[in-house]
């Protein structure tokens, strides 16, 4: 293998990791946003305080992911974003509303606060639905037809449900008292739709895509791949079990969140296995879509220095704001 062949694969991996980081990190933000209307006024403040210091950097992973798609795979970028033009626009409107509501809800006059709280909820929900729809369209290679539309619609509902489970897990980890008990109840409510949805999608994906069917259901790959669904299932079961236990309020408060993150990671691994080496399923491979080797090399050098630094100061930020969420006040 030479650089011309290796670099596009490195960037595909980096893009996948950035997108996964986005889905997990902003996923819990969006989940908390979708849960907002179910909380009391004071709880709303605590919920937003738990994500306030992080959301901005979390959203930047999306910019990095789309940035790599744009920079490293311009042809795929054009194909994907032209096909998903309207859902992208709706997601962006949602993200705009959610992002500005963080500040407006506490800075505008008091009587506007409920309206901005609603904007926070509506923006989070719109962004999550649009992301789910796009994921569904993407998995099936952006093909048109009613089965594909139905499949995309199913994922459009599944992804927000998974975000809600993640958000509830985050709240269990970051809050205490009444709100934490509420969050456990929200997580219990979100669990069955997520499990049902994941089961349906796992059955439907090979049904709508021949490539996926061939990759998963042939021997001996099937046996080698078995750990992926099994670990996912185990993580879901562990999350559900601990939600019934007293320990979830105490020593195991991290478990529902961590287990849900594991579900996302193994989902991403499964998806990556299904797709590779395609950037757009059955239509464009990673090498067909890549930019010039020289430009990729320059960015790769930059990434080698900056990505570890980004990870380091992200860890620093999470350490600064570790523990239970406290009310946010400007320094």
């Amino acid at each position: 293998m030479n650089w011309a062949e290796t670099l596009p694969v490195i960037f595909l991996a980096l893009m996948g990791l950035a997108m996964l980081a986005y889905v997990v990190l902003d996923g819990y933000d969006l989940g908390v946003g979708m849960l907002l209307p179910r909380a009391s006024a004071q709880q709303k403040d605590t919920m937003i305080a738990s994500i306030g210091p992080f959301w901005d950097a979390n959203e930047t992973w999306l910019v990095l992911g789309v940035g790599i798609l744009l920079i490293a795979f311009p042809k795929a970028h054009g194909m994907v974003l032209t096909a998903l033009y309207l859902p992208v626009a709706l997601m962006l409107v949602g993200l705009v509303l959610r992002g500005v509501a963080f500040d407006f809800r506490v800075k505008a006059r008091n009587h506007w606060k409920p309206a901005w709280n609603f904007a926070f909820f509506a923006g989070s929900t719109l962004a999550a639905l649009a992301q789910g729809w796009m994921l569904g369209r993407y998995i099936t290679g952006l093909q048109d037809g009613w089965t594909f539309t139905l499949f995309a619609a199913a994922i459009a509902l599944l992804l927000p449900a998974a975000y809600v489970l993640l958000g509830a897990g985050w709240l269990i980890l970051k809050t205490e008292g009444d709100l934490q008990r509420q969050a456990v109840r929200w997580a219990r409510t979100a669990w069955p739709p997520v499990v049902l949805g994941m089961g349906l999608v796992s059955l439907a994906t090979p049904a709508v895509s021949v490539t996926v069917r061939d990759r998963w259901f042939s021997m001996p790959e099937f046996i080698a791949l078995l750990p992926i669904p099994l670990v996912t299932l185990a993580a879901l079961v562990a999350a559900r079990a601990v939600l019934n236990s007293r320990l979830v309020f105490d020593r195991l408060a991290w478990l529902p969140f961590a287990a849900t993150v594991a579900v996302f990671i193994f989902g991403a691994v499964g998806l990556a296995y299904s797709l590779f080496p395609y950037v757009v399923m059955d239509r464009l491979t990673v090498w067909q879509a890549a930019s010039a080797t020289g430009s990729l090399a320059l960015i790769a050098v930059g990434c080698a220095f900056t990505v570890p630094a980004i990870v380091a100061y992200t860890v620093f930020s999470y350490r600064v704001f570790r523990g239970k969420a406290k009310p946010l006040a400007y320094a």
Partner: protein, 453 residues
Amino acid sequence: MDALLLARMQFAANITFHILFPTITIALGWALLFFRLRWLRTRDAAWLTAYRFWTKVFALSFALGVVSGVVMSFQFGTNWPGFMERAGNVAGPLLGYEVLTAFFLEATFLGVMLFGHGRVSERMHLVATFLVALGTTLSAFWILALNSWMQTPAGAEWRGGEFVVTSWFDVVFNPSFPYRLVHMLLASGLTVAFLVAGVSAWQLLRAKANASTPKGLRFGLTLGAVLIPLQILAGDLHGLNTLQHQPAKVAAMEGLWQTQRGVPLLLFAWPDEQARENRFEIAIPKGASLILKHDPDGEIRGLDEFKGSHPPVAPVFWGFRVMVGTGLLMLLVSWAGLWMYRRRGWVAERLPRPLLGVVAGMAFSGWVATVAGWYVTEIGRQPYIVHGLLRTAEVASNVPSSHIALTLALYLTLYLALLVAYVAVIRHLAEKVDKPEPLPEPTLRADAQEVAA
């Protein structure tokens, strides 16, 4: 309407909305660092009040900049897919470095800067504030490098239907980049100067002043008075650079239809694109030749030399006059204001109300000048997306125009509503009697000693 025009309008709407907020945050980040340092050095609580108030404005502006910036990161591709296919080898790394070196840095440390007090030391908090300011400035560096390359491309060759880089140094430090970077950073400084002065003047007018208000007014007027002469000089040099590399843009700025010597400086005119001439001209004889060639009889190339490849004249011509006019007004107001303020012994309450009214009225004058200036340079580059080499029409997307129109309407509605809300909230914050939750004094003292050490 055709898809190209709609795509341009949509991108223009988004980029216009977006630039308002970085224009504030680039310089306001440094201003916050200054306020914080003043507070630690002098222990004068007024500086802390100023820091806290402007931190709120910073956080709000930053959020608006981030969300509109996320939209932009998608619109590069959705509106101009051909640009990335042909110029991706140049634009990709520049945008990539902006994300990697600037976006994560500012976004992560913003959390620490805003909410980190009591969780990190005062020194770490200062470092966080510095890194946020550095991040916004780095972001300006990279994006202006790309924009300047599109205006004055260098360091790349057109080979096999795409640009291939031959020298990264020449790409980044292309001929117009130093001028544009300085011009934009000064524009940001001036925007913040007049915003801080304007909001302070408003507080005085509405009898809502607090201890930090006179300091804010003095800070804003001083910063404005210092920066505006520098900006006029930088603008002049930038103009000469444009004359050298993009003569068609300068011809449009001056409304000059035919090449001639002793070109007059048009104060007012109505450029008529059909007749290719101006109506209702009011001019200073030989003024433009004097400014651009430093010679009253200097020859300037007119639009007749660039038929079919020059920008639409009226928006460039008018944009330029709005920018320069606002700049001159800034010069007048900041110098007159500072002079009167000094004469009255820096007692803000003794300033005449009409002066305060004018300063308050200019709170957002930086936005007007900045947007007008960007219209001059961006519309002035048309019909090219990469000057002289790649036309905008060649890189547009094939998304149906109905989709573009629908989303354009959606974005416009959203942006107008947010703009109204933004200005209303700044006004509300300015008028609210600020009762900052006092920090425990021992912590503060310990912090100050730590910083002094």
